[in-house]
Symmetry: C2
Subunit: 117 residues, 2 copies
């Protein structure tokens, strides 16, 4: 995590990983890069965060994985399972509900208040 409040990110990292995997299988390091790109450098998942997440997703059968040793670089490719895709939808819905809820709680504070005239 970089420019964003790290406390806020807690809980949405798994969603982000699932999301990045939704447009095709990727290996860990690539996921990390894609996430950084997609977020304008704001989300920079540390290795100590990313890999445990991937292992957890694998245990829960949300992703399947396959080692590729054909190049010098050992790479572990991850792909969403059907359960993973379903889970992603659930997580996105949870996220939308959360945002909507916060909007309600924040009330007028949530509105982009322009410079006072």
């Amino acid at each position: 995590m970089d420019g964003l409040n790290p406390e806020l990110m807690r809980g949405s990292l798994e969603l982000m990983v699932l999301s990045v995997l939704s447009d095709g299988s990727k290996y860990g390091y690539l996921i990390q890069q894609r996430l950084k790109d997609a977020s304008d450098e704001l989300v920079d998942l540390k290795a100590g965060t990313l890999y445990p997440i991937l292992h957890k997703l694998e245990t829960k059968k949300m992703v399947r994985c396959r080692w590729d040793d054909s190049t010098g670089r050992r790479r572990k490719w991850y792909e969403l399972t059907a359960a993973g895709k379903k889970q992603l939808k659930v997580r996105v819905d949870e996220w939308q509900a959360y945002v909507e809820c916060l909007r309600r709680v924040l009330g007028p504070l949530a509105d982009p208040s322009p410079m006072p005239a």
Copy 2:
């Protein structure tokens, strides 16, 4: 927390408490109720969560507080300090940035996809 993913809420609870205090001073239990109301029952802060947050905000001088023993009910009223109001603005901005960032990361997934025709 009730209908929402509790993992997601982590990190935004303090923001919510500050937010509820922004329209006037309140005591703990009242904050809890207001938050529940404002969120359509979705956010139900437990006492074991709320009071430590308030103590922390007090320690950080984000709120000032005053006991009211005039009624039988011992109540501790909390009020945002100037620093607290400033902090609230910062937190709201962080929240907006976070939401915007997630929208970018989720990409097409973030769009409300209607029933397929």
